[in-house]
């Protein structure tokens, strides 16, 4: 187990290193420098020079690379070109909003997805099952930002049940929960479809197992077998995919946060890209990659602890 853990963590660190290197190389591959990109064509040479010095671009490349890595490791992600605030501070300010949004979306997806998957198995082969199959494919394929806009129009603008913009008042849980419902639902919908399909497929596999056949021989109802005996085994692949799912949920947050003008990593990075504020974009990308890799690695280690067969995958 220990050697698997070391290998897995080593791989994650190596990937972060490559990502950082690629990100840094990208800046040098393009014509012009980040300072002129951010300031636009009408910047004065003095202004450009000042920004170059502030971003450390006046130093030799190896010093720049070294500084970039050293600073990133100590949590210093540079400064916003416009407001001159530290990028790490800006991320720390909005990230809890995105995390909360992701957690609520994942909870909705888990409850609804597993529920629908179970329903499909209980009524396997009947009309309900077929309708649910079409419904899950549709939920997987419809873009979440389109769903977000429709939800906004119906439940915020027409019915007025939920706020149309923002993340709620700080410290007021009621308003924060009201503000998270619509964006979380929009993000969750894709994963409701995914999980419903996954649970259905893995449960059908379990349904032919010996212990389920025995339960059936004892005359238990289909619903009881599904909930009490099959779900427990069928849920394992769901646990495995939740960590990866969390990463993709955070990606859809970029679009959905913008639709609801909700402060978060998504709105932060989108506005930074529009202003071509390179330090903020780089900081957000690095932070999100590191966060995502941490979640996936932890999930892998947990799975390896629960299921020894997983440990063999990195061998050889």
């Amino acid at each position: 187990m220990l050697s698997y853990a070391i290998k897995r963590i080593g791989l994650a660190l190596l990937i972060i290193f490559v990502v950082m290197l690629v990100m840094y190389a990208m800046v040098f591959l393009v014509p012009g420098d980040p300072a002129s990109l951010a300031l636009g064509p009408r910047a004065t040479p003095e202004l450009k020079h000042e920004l170059m010095v502030r971003m450390g671009l006046d130093q030799p490349i190896y010093v720049q690379v070294w500084n970039f890595f050293r600073n990133a490791l100590t949590g210093d992600l540079g400064y916003d070109v416009w407001s001159k605030r530290p990028v790490s501070e800006m991320i720390a300010e909005v990230f809890p909003n995105t995390l909360f949004l992701g957690a609520v979306a994942m909870s909705i997806a888990l409850v609804a997805g597993i529920g629908l998957g179970c329903l499909a198995v209980v009524w396997q082969g009947r009309t309900v099952d077929r309708v649910l199959a079409v419904l899950s494919v549709s939920m997987i394929s419809i873009p979440s930002f389109v769903v977000a806009i429709y939800l906004l129009l119906v439940f915020a603008v027409w019915l007025g049940w939920f706020p149309a913009i923002g993340a709620g008042e700080a410290g007021d849980w009621g308003s924060q929960i009201r503000a998270v419902v619509l964006p979380a639902a929009a993000i969750a919908i894709t994963w409701v479809g995914y999980l419903a399909r996954l649970v259905r497929a893995s449960m059908l596999e379990v349904m032919s197992a010996n212990h389920v056949r025995t339960a059936r021989a004892f005359g238990l109802t289909q619903a009881k077998i599904v909930l009490r005996y099959a779900l427990r085994v069928a849920i394992v692949p769901v646990v495995a995919i939740v960590a990866v799912g969390f990463g993709s949920i955070l990606s859809s947050a970029v679009f959905v946060e913008t639709v609801f003008s909700r402060p978060g990593i998504g709105t932060l990075i989108t506005s930074a890209v529009q202003k071509r504020d390179f330090p903020v974009v780089m900081g957000c990308v690095l932070f999100m990659t590191a966060f995502y890799l941490t979640v996936v690695t932890l999930a892998d280690l947990l799975m390896a602890k629960l299921d020894p067969r997983v440990r063999d995958t990195l061998r050889g």
Binding site: L11, L14, I15, V18, V19, V22, M23, M26, V27, L29, V30, L37, V134, V137, S138, I140, S141, I142, P143, F145, V146, I149, Y150, L152, L153, V157, W158, R197, L198, A201, P237, I241, G247, S248, L250, S251, V254, F255, T258, V259, I269, T270, A272, V273, Q274, R276, D277, F278, V281, M282, C284, V285, M288, T289, Y292, L293, V296
Partner: protein, 284 residues
Amino acid sequence: MASGRRNVWRALAAEPLGVMGGAIVLTFVVMALFAPWLAPHDPFKIDVMHKFASPSLAHWAGTDQLGRDLLSRIIYGARTALGVAITATGIAGLAGILLGLVAGYGPRWLDSLLILCFDSMTSLPMIMFALAVITVLGPSTATLILVIILVSIPGYARFIRAQTLSLVRSDFILAEQAMNASTARIILLHLLPNVAGQLLVVLSMDVPVVIMLEAGLSYLSLGVKPPTPSWGNILYDGYVSLRQSPGMVIIAGIPLILATLGFTFLGEALRDALDPRLQMRTLT
């Protein structure tokens, strides 16, 4: 071969959803190809006197905030969506085949290096990488296509590599090697035809994802630039004027929903008809 093809058609025709998906896709393809003849108006013609017009006989889907005909813009938007999707998945597919074959059949150190690159790419949240590239190159349709190519290549290359590795030990390749066939001959004549067909199914399943990405980034004003019509920037125009004219945003979302559903239904039916073994890959 001919009877095999007929079987595929029969299997496709037996799937009502696949047929429906096929019909939707065909409609959008016709729209994209014949946009200048099908569009009732010039999609760029501004007519401020008639902005936010409701659907009428003159403007079937109404007009936008500049009085441009919405239906014409949506029809031309199909051209943008399909153009970007086909160009990007096509190039990414070719590059994926090349890199996948090299990784699967080439020397081991090269394989490890490529795998590390692919894994680093796929471990980046896709949209984050896309945004980083757009910041450096600046938003445009060309950047958008490049971004989609870059984020898609690792997945395709990994798929081709896995297929190649499973083929490398098969008897017919070993026989070729025993007969001293050149590497180029083995790759081009024996490996390529066996892996390319399966990738085609994977590519077709990715078209809706690419359409979604194009529209999403154009919606964020980071993709196709106005006034070129894209379903994403049409949706954005509708979103901005949501309170004055909610009809516009409702209509603007419909082509996106229909196109992603149509391509997905068709893709799934194609996959089931051609290669049921791929089912697990797309399921998880």
